[in-house]
């Protein structure tokens, strides 16, 4: 256990000290500042726009962080053989995978917490400056949406762990993760089109089979997107609040287990 914790600890330290992280945070700060400056260009629903832009900024900055720093922390370990310094200690390959993943999760939590606090500022300023008695906004839903973004980023981190266990170069791992993200962000929409049987849209049975396969194999990232609900203050069903974290737990568990099994069999010549 101490091996897992100490590995997670140094992974977090490596991540926090990565210069790319500062760049991503500066970009996020500029986007938050732009949110304050731009919302008054909208005639109505200014708080909704501020909420939407702030959550998008957290999601985008978090995605850049987890994809670029995550692949550099994991795949580079194998690429540059820094993995030797860990697995030559009394740390099993499975403990290595879990420790690395936990370190990435700590990094996501720290980053999203910081971004979440900073993002409340443009939302708060817009709600004070442009008071609208008809606007329905709930801080509770806003913070739940931020927690869901953190879950989404941790799920992407588990995908990075999996791809890093099957590839030998950080570049391939990066490309595969970006592909999985793009598919995961759109697969629900594509399946929606398939299920709705829209007129004029003809989908052959093999194509329908492929779409369903992709839908179940790749993560459904749109399930973690609560921007609409947060912007409009829409109530969240209890079942939804439970099922999404359960889906996260299941998908992440599969990715980490698969990554560990592959790493246990892998050789590092």
């Amino acid at each position: 256990m101490s091996g897992i914790i100490s590995l997670a600890h140094i992974t977090l330290k490596e991540g926090i000290r990565n210069r790319a992280l500062f760049g991503i945070f500066i970009l996020a700060l500029l986007m938050f500042a732009a949110t304050i400056a731009l919302v008054n260009l909208f005639m109505r629903d200014i708080v909704k726009v501020a909420v939407d832009l702030s959550l998008s900024t957290i999601s985008f900055a978090g995605l850049l962080m987890v994809v670029f720093i995550g692949t550099s922390l994991l795949a580079k370990d194998i690429d540059k053989r820094t993995i030797y310094m860990v697995i030559s200690r009394p740390v099993s390959r499975t403990q290595y995978v879990i420790g690395k993943y936990l370190g990435l999760c700590f990094l996501v939590v720290v980053a999203v917490l910081l971004l979440g606090i900073v993002s409340s500022l443009p939302v708060y300023i817009s709600s004070i400056m442009y008071k609208n008695p008809q606007a329905v906004f709930s801080w509770k839903i806003y913070f739940i949406a931020i927690v869901f973004i953190a879950l989404k980023l941790m799920l992407i981190a588990s995908v990075i762990v999996f791809f890093s266990s099957i590839t030998s170069t950080s570049f391939i791992s990066l490309v595969l993760t970006i592909a999985a993200y793009l598919i995961g962000s759109t697969n629900e929409t594509v399946k929606g089109i398939l299920d709705s049987k829209m007129e004029g849209v003809e989908i052959t049975p093999p194509m329908a089979f492929i779409i369903k396969g992709v839908y179940y194999v790749f993560p459904n990232l749109s399930a973690f997107d609560l921007k609409l609900q947060a912007a409009h203050g829409l109530a969240l069903a209890e079942g939804y609040l439970l099922s999404v974290p359960l889906y996260w737990l299941l998908y992440t568990g599969i990715m980490i287990t698969a990554g560990s099994l592959i790493m246990e069999r892998r050789e590092f010549p």
């Binding site: 053989r81 820094t82 030797y84 310094m85 697995i87 030559s88 200690r89 009394p90 590092f268």
Partner: protein, 248 residues
């Protein structure tokens, strides 16, 4: 009972996208005993690093078995008594030597006080005290090598496995490592190391093995088996000539 045992170990690498096979080790049998300094020599590409990686379970044997202190090399728990220095070590860029050693100690369940004491002593011995808080990416090649040695030693292991510990070191650094191995011998540790510096192996080691093209060609007691008026270097070149040099 030998502390390190390689019994009839072979390793075959299969090239990706081709049927070509590379026989890196052929039926290697080697035993290193408690308290022994064992030198492992051979030309580049002879299979020394492959044998060491097999001992560390970084790769697995195609045939044969490896045990360390009576336990299978694949048992991660056995690495609690091993300190390993890879050839050309590479560490996390943003960590300092102190943080690296803290990780090394924690991964072996050491308490913070013991880690602190060992870190101070080792970094002093390896002349890294002044760079204790500098990130490892700012270290020179020799400093990285010495930080790697400190990491291998932090948990005071019974067995030390070093892959080319003198590589990249200046004469002062080499002397430090030389003295370190002498100290480890006095403490009764078992040291297994590969090197191209035959003079150092001759002065330091109790026994040495010569590996050429993945095959053990000679195993000798350095103090007793060396023919009179011949150095280890002479014996090594004779062995290389006998086998017709290194394969392509």
């Amino acid at each position: 009972m030998p502390l390190i045992e390689l019994n009839n170990v072979s390793k075959v690498f299969k090239k990706e996208f081709s049927r070509k096979e590379v026989h890196a080790l052929n039926a290697l049998t080697l035993h290193a005993h408690e308290g022994e300094i064992f030198g492992f020599l051979g030309p580049n590409g002879a299979g020394k690093s492959t044998a060491i990686k097999l001992m560390m379970n970084l790769i697995r044997p195609s045939t044969g078995g490896i045990s360390i202190a009576g336990r299978d090399a694949s048992d991660s728990g056995v690495r609690r008594i091993i300190g390993y220095l890879p050839e050309n070590p590479y560490f996390y860029d943003h960590l300092s030597a102190k943080e690296l050693l803290h990780f090394g100690g924690k991964s072996c369940n050491m308490d913070n006080d013991a880690i602190e004491t060992r870190t101070t002593a080792l970094l002093h011995e390896l002349d890294l005290t002044e760079s204790i808080k500098r990130p490892l990416r700012a270290y020179s090649k020799g400093m990285i090598q010495r930080a790697g040695l400190a990491l291998a030693l932090i948990h005071d292991p019974r067995i030390l496995i070093f892959d080319e510990p003198m590589s990249g070191l200046d004469p002062m650094g080499r002397k430090k490592v030389f003295n370190l191995i002498l100290r480890l011998r006095e403490e009764g540790k078992t040291v297994f190391f590969s090197s191209h510096i035959l003079h150092d192996i001759e002065r330091l080691c109790d026994r040495a093995a010569i590996l050429i093209n993945g095959t053990l060609t000679r195993l000798l007691d350095v103090k007793e088996d060396l023919p009179k008026e011949k150095t280890l270097e002479d014996v090594f070149f004779e062995e290389v000539e006998k086998t017709g040099g290194l394969r392509e």
